[in-house]
């Protein structure tokens, strides 16, 4: 009896399609099983792991696996046929790579936003106060390369602030920039607010008004070839729920 109910629930969820993601089905009422594979931007590592644990706790038969990496690397892997159920990207450009290839099931939904913050080593030894300090030649400064989302955002905020930045290194991803601050090898870097939160203690964050001009929207979608579409929808639903939003806010992300 129970098994038949579970089958019905899966059917209902499958029939609901991506639109089911913003529906109001209560989670926990169905029996999700098997393996759920989530491809998510590296910045989501902590908060998605936590949400995945909660989903697995509610469904003892379900195993949740994550692949955290740069969004562009993940988009490439999905285009090359990686068996993923859910894709959460750190910007809309990389999500477009997946949707343009017809690999998304329905429209992706924006679930959070991330803004840039200045990050300095604990104690702020160089006395950095704002974006203008990125023009100081004597400081060792790290900014993301323009090819990756955080670098594109950095260019936008410097343009908005009218600052000609003089970085010493253009980092290949936001975590690499953060690492250099944690190691105290640069005086300041531009990273996302959520990254500053994840490294609390070793670094300090300084917010600045121009950050709003270059906020990154994070879209999520169920993939068309998802091996476990029912679990995929349940996860997306959890991310979009008030509970998911609260977890994201706790990790330094902004509301969409």
């Amino acid at each position: 009896m129970r098994r038949r109910l579970a089958g019905l629930a899966v059917l209902a969820l499958t029939a609901a399609g991506c639109a089911g993601a913003d529906g109001a089905e209560p989670r926990g009422g169905d029996e999700l099983t098997g393996t759920l594979t989530v491809f998510a931007a590296a910045s989501l590592t902590d908060v998605f792991t936590e949400l995945g644990d909660r989903l697995a706790d509610d469904h003892p038969g379900l195993e949740v696996r994550f692949s955290f990496a740069g969004s562009s690397a993940l988009a490439t892997q999905i285009s090359q046929g990686a068996p993923a159920d859910v894709f959460a990207s750190a910007d809309e450009a990389q999500m477009a790579v997946v949707t343009d290839a017809g690999l998304a099931d329905g429209e992706p939904q924006v679930f959070t936003r991330n803004v840039l913050e200045i990050v300095v080593p604990a104690g702020n030894p160089a006395g950095v106060t704002g974006l203008a300090d990125f023009a100081r030649e004597e400081l060792a400064l790290a900014v993301c390369a323009a090819e990756v989302p955080c670098g594109a955002a950095a260019e936008d905020v410097f343009a908005a602030a009218g600052v000609t930045a003089r970085p010493d290194t253009l980092e290949e991803d936001v975590r690499a920039a953060l690492t250099k601050v944690e190691l105290d090898e640069v005086d300041a870097a531009l990273v996302y607010a959520s990254d500053v939160d994840s490294a609390e203690g070793a670094v300090e964050g300084i917010s600045f008004p121009e950050a709003e001009q270059a906020a990154n929207d994070y879209p999520v979608c169920v993939l068309a070839d998802a091996p476990n579409p029912a679990a995929a929808r349940a996860f997306v639903e959890l991310v979009l729920s008030p509970e998911g939003r609260e977890a994201l806010a706790g990790a330094g992300f902004a509301a969409p």
């Binding site: 253009l170 250099k180 190691l183």
Partner: protein, 266 residues
């Protein structure tokens, strides 16, 4: 390699050897098939490409020079000396081979960074900071590439007939003269092969470089870094750059083979 002895490949070797060639060469074929040849001119003319290529060649060559200078004597110590702790020494030499290069980059920070054990002293005493400079690129490349040279040369020294050295000694040659006039010519092919391996590894170096030296066009952005970043925005550009790097390194190695290696290894 030498055709004159007309050695036929034994059948049990032929199939695995052919599979080996396929395994190594097919990814290269894949790159060549996907290369957007029509865009070749525009991609190669893009700003920064020439700079990155020059920086790669210069830093790989300098790294090889430093490795020869330090690595050949180190290989001699490993192969010939009877000193205690040689096993430990050999294990230490292979550390950079095992270490993920990104971790190697962090380790270099901890020693040569501005907060590092040696780096902080350099900064205070001379006002010199190494990270994010071309020097850092060469150091990172040397760190990951030198073990290849040391191991090749050590192998050659072990395989070399030590009786030549004994004879030189009985004829009155000092140890230094013996090393220069007898040992070194004897292991020249091994040194050459090691130098080629070392150069190739240094040319392709990515992880330790992007960590320790950072990425800035003109100072620290080598070809592998440029390829990686191009991949984020424009995969076609990344493929063109990779093919260029491959072509230049193959051309260099073939040229060296004719000029120098050809004689040494024939």
């Amino acid at each position: 390699m030498s055709r004159h002895d007309g050695a036929r490949v034994p059948a049990p070797l032929l199939v695995p050897a052919a599979l080996g060639v396929l395994f190594l060469a097919l990814p290269l074929v894949g790159l060549l098939v996907r290369t957007p040849w029509s865009q070749l001119g525009t991609q190669l003319g893009a700003p920064g490409v020439g700079e990155a290529l020059r920086l790669s060649l210069v830093s790989a060559t300098l790294a090889t020079a430093v490795s020869l200078l330090l690595g050949v004597p180190l290989a001699w110590v490993l192969a010939r000396s009877r000193a205690r702790g040689r096993t430990v020494l050999r294990a230490l030499v292979t550390v950079p081979l095992v270490l993920p290069p990104v971790v190697g980059g962090v380790a270099l920070f901890l020693v040569l960074g501005r907060q590092g054990i040696v780096g902080s002293w350099l900064d205070e005493a001379f006002g010199v900071t190494i990270p994010f400079t071309t020097t850092a690129v060469v150091i990172a490349a040397t760190f990951v590439a030198m073990p290849f040279l040391v191991i090749s040369v050590e192998g050659a020294l072990r395989a070399a007939d030590a009786r030549f050295e004994d004879v030189a000694a009985t004829l009155g040659a000092g140890r230094w003269t013996t090393f220069r006039r007898v040992t070194l010519p004897l292991v020249a092919p091994g040194v050459a092969a090691g130098a080629v391996l070392c150069w190739a590894r240094a040319l392709g170096e990515f992880g330790a470089t992007i960590t320790f030296a950072g990425n800035f066009p003109g100072t620290t952005q080598t070809m592998p870094l440029a390829v990686y970043l191009a991949l984020q925005r424009d995969p076609d550009a990344a493929i063109v750059l990779s093919v260029l790097l491959l072509a230049v390194s193959l051309a260099t190695l073939l040229l060296l083979r004719d000029r120098w290696l050809g004689r040494a290894t024939a």
